[in-house]
Structures are given as structure tokens and as C-alpha cells.
């Protein structure tokens, strides 16, 4: 492996608690809080409830991506790590985090199913729109959005470094507008029903893992345009 890429990975791992363990600690806290809360709420009235507790992991990885662009990137450049090496190394670590996160959530889903949804009908990880199929398929499905969270955080952090807060505000305004315009144009071209039918006809894994991964790659390429001349 390229020495610069490896150095970038190792630089992230200088603080393993913050870089690797913190997202899991955030997930554990979220799971614990959800279990406590819903065990109390549903006491004596068991019913199936779904929560977004596992998205704590996505949020933590998004925050890691922001920090990797805003704080660690300039430091790495000041230490002589090349920008290309840093982006590739950070991307490699993001992939590892996403894969590990996907596997972890698949295990969480198995525990959830094995315990009758924690004995209180609570669905934390067993969310059909996030993952379906067997354990391996679920792990792959969970990984896509996690990778997107890392890439999204890095892209936002890069925009913040490049254009500052006004740039971020502009991005926050223009991006939804662009998405809305694209959606309007697509619906106008194909019709809403046809479009929904087309999406519904796609394999679940494609929607859950492939599209988020492609979007993550697009964000990584966009981030490179901001990183390649980044200053320390």
C-alpha cells in the first residue's frame, strides 16, 4: 500500500478512542437510552414500535467525517502528508468503519430478532427500509448509508474549510433546491407513478447499499476538488 495512504490511516488511529470507538459508544448510549425509554413506556402494554436509535451511528460517522476534513486534514498537511494520500487513507478508514458498522448493525438485528425485539416489541435495527434479507445481505445494506454518512460529513467539512460558514449556508440552501428541481424535472418527464413503480421495482440491496455508495463516491470526488489545494 502507498506509504502516504498508510500514514494517513495511522494518523487517524493516533486517537483510536475518538476515531474508531466513539461512534460505537454513541450507538451503545442510544440503544441503552431507547431500551430504557421504551421499556418504561410500553410497560404492561407490549406493542411493536420502531425508532431511529441506530441513526446515532450514522450521525457519529458524519461528525467524524466533518472533523477529518476540518481539523485533521490541515494537521496532516502540516506534517507533510500529501493531500491525495490523506483523502485515500481517510476513504479507506471510512470504508472500514462502514463495513464494521454494517456488520455490527446486522448483529444487533439478529439479537433483536432473537429476543423478540428486546421483549418489548422495539425495533431499533430491524428496519425493513434499511436492510432486508439474510445476515450478510443486511450487513452490506447497512454499510451503504454509513459510508454515505462519512462521505457526507467530509464533503460538508471540506465546503466549510473552502467557503466558511456563508458557503455552508449557501450550500444548505442550494442543495435542497437542486434536489427539488431535479425531482420536479424527473416527475415531469416520467410521471410520478412511473417513477415510483420504477423505484419499487429495483432490488432492495441496490436501493439500500449501491445507491448510497455511488452517492458517497460522488461526494468524495467533489471533496477532492476542495482538498487537492487545501492549505494547512
Amino acid at each position: 500500500m502507498n506509504g502516504q495512504v498508510l500514514t494517513a490511516v495511522r494518523l487517524h488511529l493516533v486517537t483510536p478512542v475518538r476515531s474508531v470507538l466513539a461512534p460505537w459508544a454513541v450507538l451503545a448510549l442510544s440503544v441503552g437510552a431507547n431500551l430504557l425509554l421504551f421499556a418504561t413506556i410500553t410497560l404492561g402494554h407490549p406493542e411493536v414500535v420502531a425508532t431511529g436509535g441506530v441513526f446515532a451511528l450514522h450521525t457519529a460517522l458524519f461528525a467524524w467525517g466533518v472533523s477529518a476534513a476540518v481539523r485533521t486534514l490541515p494537521y496532516a498537511v502540516s506534517l507533510g502528508v500529501t493531500r491525495r494520500g490523506y483523502l485515500l487513507g481517510t476513504g479507506l478508514l471510512a470504508v472500514a468503519q462502514a463495513v464494521a458498522g454494517g456488520a455490527g448493525l446486522a448483529v444487533l438485528r439478529a439479537v433483536e430478532r432473537g429476543t423478540g425485539h428486546w421483549g418489548i416489541g422495539l425495533r431499533l435495527a430491524d428496519l425493513g427500509f434499511l436492510a432486508s434479507g439474510g445476515p450478510v445481505t443486511a450487513a452490506v445494506a447497512y454499510s451503504g448509508p454509513l459510508l454515505l454518512a462519512c462521505a457526507g460529513g467530509f464533503a460538508v467539512g471540506t465546503a466549510q474549510r473552502r467557503w466558511g460558514t456563508p458557503g455552508l449556508l449557501l450550500l444548505a440552501t442550494l442543495l435542497p433546491a437542486a434536489v427539488a428541481a431535479f425531482a420536479w424535472w424527473t416527475v415531469r418527464l416520467h410521471g410520478a407513478r412511473d417513477l415510483l413503480d420504477w423505484v419499487a421495482g429495483r432490488p432492495a440491496l441496490e436501493l439500500q447499499a449501491l445507491w448510497p455508495t455511488v452517492l458517497a463516491l460522488v461526494l468524495a470526488v467533489l471533496a477532492w476538488t476542495g482538498v487537492r489545494r487545501a492549505e494547512a
Binding site: L11, V14, V17, S67, Y75, S78, G80, T82
Partner: protein
């Protein structure tokens, strides 16, 4: 007889320009820093010192012009970047970093890193390894930079105001360590500083920047020999400095002290007078504020400074 070959250059810049919007932080800088010497990069706030060092360290991209470090453009050049180390004032660290993390990161990225030496230096500067960098005082943060800069043993080490916040004892420790380590491991050092009086004796070569241009680029020994202070009775002093370019004048009663530039055999006669070398700081202040510096700036890179006035001559 053949002339001695010049020492190889660690840093060469040609027509280096860096603009930030309408501001020209560097405006056509031509500098050659010889390898194996201690260079002083001096100048007032906003002179362009930090920008110059960041360009040399490949941390910024020039607007125009050229910068070479060991013969190569340093921007994203792994081989060159591995051979240089820039210690910046106000360096920011990643979230959650403690002192030991800074040293660990330096060990990962600095091929010449001496962990044992770093440990000794950290202890000498009273740096607690487990203290979060966000909890360090300004002086302690500076000390962290000093430890990284020294223990990196990079062939080109750039210190940008490394001792802001350090007390006098800690600064002296830094100078002592720098000299001792340079003796053991010779390398090229660039010191950007305001504290000319403190570092004056360390320097082999001086570059003074002013508003993004080179005001003075001179060998320190030559510079030290370029001016003297003549003190004594006014009449005798006037006779002694007649015809010499005057840089500064102080009068106290019947006694006068005149700072004049000298060259070759044009030394003032010392009969009944005190003739002393001018401290580097005083000399640079005189050269950069007397108007002579501006003339030198017009001829960027020139070592000689044109006189503003000549005693006994037209003003």
C-alpha cells in the same frame, strides 16, 4: 585559480508572489537559502514571513513565481515534505489530541524522529504527556512546537515565531538546545522572529521582509561589519565620520553617538572615541526605518543598502 563552488541551496525562490484577494502578501520574492546554515527571517507584523514559510513548506500554492526546496517544488511532493518540518505559531491540532498524541503523530510522519530526545525535551519544558492540547497555556503550546521541531531532525527545519509565550528561561533553553543539536546533527534552520536581539548571534544569514518584498538579504557576519557606532565628543565624532553614510544619530549634551556604515578601509579613526559594532537588531532597525531600506527593497535581494545621507556630502 578557481572560485569556490557555492554551497547547495536548501531553498530557492524566484519571483514568488502570493495574493489573498487584493492583498499581495508576497510580491516578487527572490531568495536563496544555503543548506547547512541558520537563516533569520525577520520583518514586522504582516511582512509576509508566515506566508513565505508556508509556501516553502508546501502548505500553500504560489499565485505566481517559483519555490524549490532541495531542487524540487515542495507542493504535495512526499520526498521533499519528508525532509522539512515547519513549526508554526498557533498550530491547531485535531480534536482530542493530547501532548503524547502530538509526539506520536510526529513520530509517524518524520523520518528522522528521535523519540528519546523528544521525551527529554518534553520533560525539560515541563510538558505533561497526558494534558489535552486545548488545555495548554500559550507557552506550553509553543514548547510542544519546539519539541517537534527539534526532535524531527528534518534537514530543513522552519520555525515560525516558535517561542511566543515562552518565558525567558524556556527561550534560552530552546536556543541552547538548538545550538547543541545543530552541532550534533547539522541541518538548515530558518528562524522567523521578532526577537532579533535574542537570536542575532545564532544567525548565519538574514533576510528581512517588508510588505511582501525583500528589504535585506545578507550574510550576518558581513552585515555586522557593515556599520559601527562612534561615540564621543561631538566635534571629534564629526571629524571621524566625515564622508561616511549615516544611519542614526543620538545626542546627549556634548556627547554624540553616530551609527555609520563602513566598508573596506573606511573605518573611523578611534583616537579618543569609542567605536563599537552595532547589535544586529539595532542595525536592522536603522536599515529598515532610515529610508535606506526602502531603497534596498527597490532592488529586491540586493545585499547592499544605499545610504540615506552621507556625512559631509549633499543630503
Amino acid at each position: 585559480m578557481t572560485a569556490a563552488a557555492p554551497a547547495p541551496a536548501a531553498v530557492t525562490t524566484e519571483g514568488l508572489v502570493r495574493r489573498f484577494g487584493a492583498v499581495r502578501a508576497l510580491d516578487g520574492v527572490d531568495v536563496r537559502l544555503e543548506a547547512g546554515a541558520v537563516h533569520g527571517l525577520l520583518g514586522r507584523n504582516g511582512a509576509g514571513k508566515t506566508t513565505f514559510l508556508q509556501l516553502v513548506a508546501g502548505q500553500q500554492v504560489p499565485t505566481s513565481g517559483r519555490v524549490e526546496v532541495f531542487g524540487e517544488d515542495p507542493f504535495d511532493a512526499p520526498r521533499t515534505l519528508a525532509r522539512l518540518c515547519l513549526v508554526r505559531e498557533g498550530q491547531r491540532y485535531p480534536d482530542g489530541y493530547r501532548v503524547r498524541h502530538v509526539l506520536a503523530a510526529a513520530a509517524l510522519t518524520r523520518p528522522g524522529w528521535d523519540a528519546a530526545y523528544a521525551g527529554r525535551l518534553a520533560a525539560a519544558f515541563d510538558l505533561p504527556p497526558d494534558r489535552a492540547v486545548t488545555k495548554l497555556s500559550r507557552g506550553m503550546l509553543s514548547a510542544v512546537g519546539v519539541v517537534v521541531g527539534l526532535a524531527s531532525r528534518a534537514p530543513l527545519t522552519l520555525f515560525d515565531e516558535p517561542y511566543l509565550g515562552l518565558d525567558a528561561v524556556a527561550r534560552q533553553r530552546f536556543y541552547d538546545e538548538l545550538l547543541a543539536d545543530l552541532a550534533r546533527h547539522p541541518r538548515t534552520v530558518v528562524l522567523s522572529t521578532h526577537l532579533i536581539a535574542e537570536v542575532g548571534d545564532l544567525l548565519d544569514h538574514v533576510v528581512v521582509l517588508d510588505r511582501g518584498r525583500v528589504l535585506l538579504d545578507a550574510d550576518a557576519d558581513t552585515l555586522r561589519g557593515e556599520a559601527v557606532q562612534v561615540t564621543g565628543a561631538a566635534e571629534r565624532v564629526e571629524r571621524a565620520v566625515h564622508g561616511l553614510p549615516e544611519l542614526a544619530r543620538e545626542r546627549l549634551g556634548g556627547t554624540v553617538r553616530v551609527t555609520v556604515r563602513v566598508g573596506g578601509d573606511d573605518r573611523p579613526a578611534a583616537d579618543g572615541l569609542v567605536v563599537e559594532p552595532v547589535p544586529l537588531q539595532q542595525l536592522i532597525i536603522h536599515l529598515t526605518t532610515s529610508g535606506t531600506g526602502a531603497d534596498a527593497g527597490a532592488d529586491a535581494g540586493a545585499r547592499q543598502v544605499e545610504p540615506a545621507a552621507t556625512n559631509g556630502g549633499p543630503r
